[in-house]
């Protein structure tokens, strides 16, 4: 009886671990197809009506089918929306002298920490915002210190 139960428990444990792996594997596929890095090329002073550049800038606002629920609700230029534990757009290109604003639309706090500590936002709770003016050209990679898998970059031309 005891051995029987032990075996049964081990089997159950093995099965739950196995199903965990299966779930994980399934998700890896879904994630890689769903990850989208939208590059937005923007002049800081572009008027809302202007041309092709603007349509590029609005790209991150359009829910891509691959992203599913991961819809971005903002179309403001020079803004990065934090939503569903990701920075949208993941890469934003701006001209030197531009201020970029991050706004958190999640129910969980996030932060914006530059990898080399050139800037950090502190706590951004729901609807919290942080702005930083990029004066020097270069690539600025950043992440969320609470969820370090959340990464993004600003390319300053």
């Amino acid at each position: 009886m005891i051995n029987h139960l032990k075996r049964k428990l081990l089997l159950i444990t093995t099965m739950s671990v196995l199903s965990l792996f299966l779930t994980a594997c399934g998700q890896i596929g879904a994630d890689s197809s769903g990850s989208s890095e939208t590059e937005s090329t923007g002049a800081p002073n572009a008027s809302p009506n202007s041309s092709t550049e603007m349509s590029k800038m609005q790209m991150p606002a359009k829910p891509s089918p691959a992203v599913g629920k991961n819809q971005s609700t903002s179309s403001s230029p020079n803004q990065v929306v934090v939503e569903n534990f990701s920075f949208q757009p993941g890469t934003l290109t701006v001209k030197a002298g531009t201020s970029v604003t991050w706004v958190n639309h999640d129910d969980i706090p996030h932060t914006v920490n530059e990898n080399d500590k050139r800037f950090k936002s502190g706590t951004l709770d729901t609807d919290g915002q942080f702005s930083y003016k990029f004066t020097s050209p270069g690539t600025y990679s950043y992440f969320c210190s609470l969820h370090p898998r959340m990464t993004g970059q600003i390319i300053v031309k």
Binding site: M1, I2, L5, K6, L9, L10, T13, S16, V17, L20, T23, A24, G26, Q27, I28, A30, D31, G34, G68, K69, N70, N84, F85, S86, D106, D107, I108, P109, T111, N113, N115, G122, T123, D125, T126, S141, Y142, F143, S145, L146, H147, P148, R149, T151
Partner: protein
């Protein structure tokens, strides 16, 4: 009923009938009674008080300050968890809070948590931080409040009735990482200083010493895409593998998961604040919002762990708040 418990312990095993009774007592909670991966005993029945037996309680992820769906009053549910602990027939020797005490690591949130825990009958509470307790100031306020008597950046160990307890911190100085190419893993990390300390800490212990390790982020890789794992946990566990019984208690993922690996049993605990999705079942690991108010307490909870000396069963009971 207590006769039955004694009988179980004599045989160091469990019979199906007793096991089912134990399940019934725990209500909506889960009962695990495991020793090195094998079901050994269920010694938490009311009246099971006996010599050489002690229990402690793990609470986790109280997130004081969180006020959104599905739980706009996390202080209340945390208080309910403490009330349940106070109502246990066998009072725990101490409590362990496995982190994310607060949501935003502000002084008033820490104050509220302290106030709630003051109402616990068990006066001793051991803490380790979650990332929410340290992210805004690299752990300064946390260490001011909870760092007394700890080592390094807050890690700690102590002995109780022959069991060696080790509290590890894996939420400090997190580095960005996507898990691919350049950069880090994006997982929790212990760091070299703490690993060196751990190796020294257990050096003099007999291999028969039961070990309980507690840390916030799981010390096994559950779901790296959500950062649910610890980069250098294998190194830590390598220092412990000679021990016959290692129990690892984690929080962070707001749900019960377990894994057995050799002599190590890993357990994650429920939160007292809000549930999170099972690995990979949602676009992101944020709170599960659409929990009906009358179901909320069934997905929140606490964990009681009981240890009986001599035959070393470690019985783990996860109870829901309602």
């Amino acid at each position: 009923m207590s006769d039955e418990v004694n009988k179980e312990q004599e045989s160091n095993g469990i019979e199906r009938r007793s096991f089912l009774k134990c399940m019934a007592w725990a209500g909506t909670g889960l009962v695990w009674a495991m020793n090195a991966g094998v079901l050994t005993s269920c010694s938490l029945l009311p009246g099971a008080k006996q010599k050489g037996l002690f229990s402690f309680v793990q609470v986790s992820d109280s997130h004081i300050g969180f006020n959104k769906e599905p739980n706009q009053d996390v202080t209340k549910t945390f208080q309910e968890a403490v009330n349940r602990i106070n109502a246990l027939e066998q009072q725990p020797a101490f409590l362990i809070h496995t982190g994310d005490i607060t949501h935003l690591s502000t002084p008033d949130q820490f104050d509220t948590a302290t106030q709630v825990l003051k109402s616990a009958k068990a006066s001793q509470v051991y803490y380790i931080p979650g990332e929410h307790d340290v992210f805004s100031d690299d752990g300064k306020i946390y260490l001011e409040r909870y760092g007394k008597g700890t080592q390094g950046q807050g890690w700690q160990s102590f002995d109780y009735e022959g069991v060696h307890f080790i509290g590890l911190i894996n939420v400090l100085n997190l580095k960005q990482g996507t898990g691919t190419g350049l950069g880090g893993s994006g997982l929790g990390q212990l760091g070299n200083d703490q690993l060196e300390w751990l190796e020294k800490d257990v050096k003099g212990l007999s291999s028969s010493t039961p070990i309980v390790v507690y840390a916030h982020v799981p010390l096994w890789t559950i779901y790296p895409e959500w950062g649910w794992g610890t980069e250098d946990s294998a190194q830590a566990l390598s220092y412990l593998k000679r021990f016959g019984s290692i129990t690892v208690l984690n929080g962070h993922i707001h749900q019960i998961l377990q894994k057995v690996e050799g002599n190590v049993t890993f357990h994650t605990a429920r939160s007292t604040a809000f549930p999170q999705p099972a690995p990979g079942t949602a676009p992101a690991p944020g709170p599960i919002k659409d929990v009906p108010a009358d179901k909320l307490r069934s997905v929140l909870g606490l964990r009681e762990v009981t240890y009986v000396s001599n035959n070393s069963p470690l019985a783990i009971v996860d109870s829901a708040l309602g």
